[in-house]
Amino acid sequence: MSGQENIPNYLWQSIVVTLLCCLPLGIPAIVFAAKVNGLVTAGQIEEAKAASSKAKMWCWLSFGIGIVVIITQVILQFGAIMLAAGVEGY
């Protein structure tokens, strides 16, 4: 019983990144979240911790790639808008 309530399964994080960031990398995160729950129920705490850290890794990977792509797009779009405004201005 000890410690099992402190193992995050990263379920909500993996759903958020799947919906808003990067679908292909969010799916494995959800898979590992499901595994955490199964392992916690079975009392396999060490295995649950391992699955939890894998879920965490996929969440951060998806979040990181999503954020980099979105920021790059915003910068490019901002540049394009500024450029268009400059062309119109002169």
Binding site: E5, I7, P8, L19, V69, Q73
Partner: protein
């Protein structure tokens, strides 16, 4: 309840994002980029329309939010409850109570939605982001 700096940052960031999304419409604002996946393939992924759905939810237009992405509308309350429990109360056991079979079912729904909403046939085309 834990009121660490991390939680304060989360609340401020989420609040700012919600305020921004409440104010601006993702389709009409030139600075919010279209998803790279949508631009590249032309397909709607299961998450497509999530930002617009949240925008309409914040504006109180439930039917329009549903038309953008029904899955996001259904999942958002659950996500808010679980995320709050974990962030503010360190109650990781709440998410443990969700049986693995429900998470597997969610994955199946995800993949099915990803296929069905791209079919250009009547009942399925309602699953793609659209205006009501």
């Amino acid at each position: 309840m834990r009121c660490g700096l991390k939680n304060l940052i989360v609340v401020v960031l989420v609040g700012a994002a919600a305020f921004f999304l409440w104010m601006v419409h993702p389709e009409e604002n030139g600075f919010i980029p279209r998803c790279l996946f949508l631009q590249g393939t032309g397909f709607h992924c299961p998450g497509c329309g999530s930002l617009r759905a949240i925008h309409y939810l914040l504006q109180g237009e439930l039917a329009q939010a549903w038309a953008m992405n029904p899955l996001t509308v259904l999942l958002l309350p659950v996500l808010l409850v679980v995320a709050s429990a974990e962030l503010f109360f360190h109650r990781y056991d709440l998410a443990h109570r969700i049986r693995p079979r429900w998470i597997w079912l969610l994955l199946v729904v995800f993949l099915l939605l990803g296929v069905l909403r791209n079919l250009p046939v009547y009942p399925f085309s309602l699953l793609a982001p659209h205006h009501v």
